[in-house]
Amino acid sequence: MTITLDLAKENQKVKVADISGGWGIRQRLGCLGIHPGDIITVKRSAIMRGPILINIHGNQVALGRGVAGKIIVEAVE
């Protein structure tokens, strides 16, 4: 089952299934190591629909809600 990344819970590990945004967002996420197939751990979620903090290949990245909503992920055990 797939969800968008902004709906993932804190400390949940997910795998990127697809990125639904346009060219710009795909490229920018790709640069930070986020491609289909990569594993993301959600570390924190800010209050008031603020950004989420994820761990990707050992690096921390903050993603705004809008951006996270464009990343389609599936849960990983």
């Binding site: 990125i19 060219w23 710009g24 967002i25 795909r26 490229q27 920018r28 996420l29 790709g30 640069c31 930070l32 190591g33 491609h35 289909p36 197939g37 924190r44 979620s45 800010a46 209050i47 008031m48 629909r49 603020g50 950004p51 903090l53 290949h57 050992g58 690096n59 921390q60 990245v61 903050a62 993603l63 705004g64 809600r65 809008g66 951006v67 996270a68 464009k70």
Partner: protein
């Protein structure tokens, strides 16, 4: 020989640069602080070498202005050696840029920077193996401590002399086939020679749909354009994804493979600093600490400044009566001498005591890596004024100086965001205006009143942001921001950075201040200041300020702190409260904070957002200042 430092954001290019240039490029622990390149010349093995510190770029398919600047410099074609600086603790991701740089077929050296940080994270890299795979020398370094920098440059020199080029790595077979076919087409048409880049590189950029190369191309001939689309379609059909995703995934896998073959992972050493985020980024505690940090910061500046300001001012104002005894106060020479002394005093006694602790504190926060955390905490709030979290970075820099703040808006993706952030950044009280708030309001009224001004300022900025984002209703692209690991700040580097920023005051503003106060003395001597004051009288009387304030407002456009220093001189005493009521001091300060950005700011605005929008900003801030000052006059 020309050497260029190229690498992903926050990999330590500027730190390496500063080793040979002296502290010339501002370094901080946040991605994207270098927005324009800096050049230096230095002597390397007996030859003069030019070194360029390029803005950090994640990829050669660039989007933001700073990244484009780096790519443009590199493609200009007069770089002899590229030093690809890599944050060793982020090796796999960094290799994606390295692979693209190799495609440019330029002589190259890799600098594995922060090798100590990588080891701390449990990443051990086989350096020789990496060098063998890529076909370029790899030099490990810890730039912050200067380790490996010497070897790096001597290796770069050697490679530049020998013009040695690294290997080009191959993607999957079917992708390579498409690349080869497109490359042949490009070669036939000799398009790549126009750009002065290898055909394979150009073929990849076309397959990645890079708008810069595509646009350039569409004008020229439709024939190749059709072929590009054709090849893009082949990749899309065979891989089931957009062609740019196919290429970036290929590069990603290649990097991962290289990474896995050269890295052995051990257990990471955790230290106290790793737990800092549990507090500083906590959804509740994070905000409390944010408030606390700024409150302490405010108090530090005030207490340090006050201790130094009082005795220094006393000293200088005791000098004037002494001179009066030896020179007749009604002569021209006395006017000039007292003008010079007051200019000197203004710099030493009023500005420096507040400027130094502020800039030093800011340097420590920057180097620690707190700014990106603030962006994370404040993203939701900034969305309310139509921006996103990254805008925090220009805003915080704006408390130092508006000029770099406006430059820093380049890290924002959309033009609209850059415009709104630039206008708002001009309203943030920079260090010059801070000295006015501290030396006038905090010193003569109370520290609480000064704090109130800062809070009022933030409220006004929020309201202005709301108005501007209503006028330009466009959704801000979401925030994508790397949160780098904390670094323990180095006092030496922080002092060097503080000095670099203070130099601006000492060598540009201070001489201006001395000249300005001498001119004011002369104007007073010949009684011409009254002419200017009368010209400004409609404004000063509207705001309920003394007539003598008029002249000082002109000086304030040159440099904001001048208006206060001139005020002290114009009213003829350092005891401002004897001449002005507290309401007048408040009104004056509020007006000076908001009215018309200084000349340096207007110049940079003109370059960054264009003439029309700059004039809008000038008018907007002036009207705002008048309204706020009138309100202060009647309410406070």
């Amino acid at each position: 020989m020309r050497i260029a430092l190229m690498g992903q954001p926050n990999s330590g290019k500027s730190t390496i640069f500063n080793h040979v240039a002296g502290y010339k490029a501002v370094t901080s622990n946040f991605p994207g602080k270098t927005v324009k390149y800096e050049l230096t010349k230095f002597n390397l093995l007996g030859r003069t070498v030019e070194l360029a510190d390029l803005p950090g770029t994640y990829s050669l398919t660039s989007f933001d202005l700073a990244e484009l600047e780096a790519r443009k410099y590199l493609l200009k074609g007069n770089v002899d050696v590229v030093i690809n600086v890599i944050d060793a603790s982020l090796l796999s991701r960094s290799l994606e840029l390295t692979l693209q740089l190799l495609e440019l077929k330029l002589p190259m050296v890799i600098c594995l920077n922060m090798i100590d940080e990588a080891e701390r994270k449990g990443i051990k890299i086989e350096i020789e193996k990496l060098s063998e795979i890529l076909g370029v020398p790899v030099v490990p370094a810890i730039a912050l401590k200067g380790k490996g920098v010497k070897e790096l440059f001597s290796t770069a020199y050697k490679i530049g002399e020998e013009k040695e080029i690294g290997k080009t790595m191959n993607f999957s077979k079917d992708v390579e086939e498409v690349i080869a076919q497109l490359s042949t087409q490009i070669k036939k048409k000799q398009i790549n020679q126009e750009f002065n880049i290898p055909e394979r590189f150009l073929a990849l950029k076309y397959l990645e749909n890079d708008s810069y190369f595509m646009e350039n191309y569409e004008e020229k001939s439709n024939n190749l354009f059709k072929k590009i689309v054709h090849f893009q379609n082949i990749l899309e059909e065979t891989h089931g994804r957009q062609s740019d995703v196919v290429i970036s995934s290929e590069r990603h896998h290649l990097s991962m493979n290289i990474y896995e073959s050269v890295v052995s992972l051990t257990k990471p050493h955790t230290s106290l600093i790793d737990y800092l985020d549990n507090i500083l980024m906590h959804p509740f505690l994070g905000y409390i600490f944010l408030g606390l940090i700024f409150y302490l910061f405010f108090n530090l500046i005030f207490s340090v400044g006050k201790i130094v300001e009082e005795p220094l001012l006393d000293y200088f104002y005791r000098l004037i009566p002494l001179i009066e005894k030896s020179i007749n106060p009604n002569t021209l020479s006395f006017s000039i001498i007292s003008g010079i002394i007051q200019g000197l005093a203004g710099g030493i006694a009023i500005v420096l005591p507040y400027l130094f602790p502020f800039l030093f504190g800011l340097a420590i926060l920057e180097d620690l890596g707190y700014l990106p955390r603030m962006a994370f905490l404040l993203d939701a709030f900034l969305h309310k004024i139509g921006l996103h979290g990254k805008a925090v970075i220009p805003f915080i820099l704006g408390y130092g100086c508006t000029v770099p703040a406006i430059m820093a808006t380049r890290i924002l993706e959309s033009e609209r965001d850059r415009f709104i952030a630039s206008v708002l950044a001009t309203m943030i009280p920079c260090a010059a205006r801070m000295t006015i708030i501290f030396a006038l309001v905090a010193f003569y009224i109370s520290p609480q009143a000064a704090l109130a001004i800062y809070i009022l300022n933030i409220i006004v900025i929020i309201i202005s942001g709301k108005i501007l984002s209503r006028l330009l209703p466009e959704i801000t692209p979401g925030m994508i921001l790397e949160i780098p690991a904390y670094h323990t700040p180095s006092i030496k580097v922080a002092l060097a950075k503080t000095w670099l920023r203070m130099k601006e005051f000492i060598f540009i503003a201070w001489p201006l201040l001395i000249v300005g106060s001498t001119i004011l003395s002369l104007l007073q001597f010949y009684k011409t200041d009254m002419l200017i004051n009368n010209l400004f009288s409609p404004l000063t009387s509207l705001l309920g300020l003394p007539l003598v304030v008029g002249t000082t407002l002109i000086f304030g456009v040159l440099r904001k702190e001048l208006s206060m220093l001139m005020l002290i001189q114009a009213i003829g005493t350092s005891n401002v409260t004897a001449v002005m009521s507290t309401t007048q001091i408040m009104t004056f300060t509020i007006f000076v904070i908001f009215y018309v950005p200084c000349v340096a700011t207007i110049t940079v605005l003109w370059k960054e957002i264009g003439s029309k929008r700059t004039l809008f900003t000038v008018a907007f801030t002036f009207i705002l200042a008048v309204i706020l000052a009138i309100i202060t006059r009647f309410i406070y």
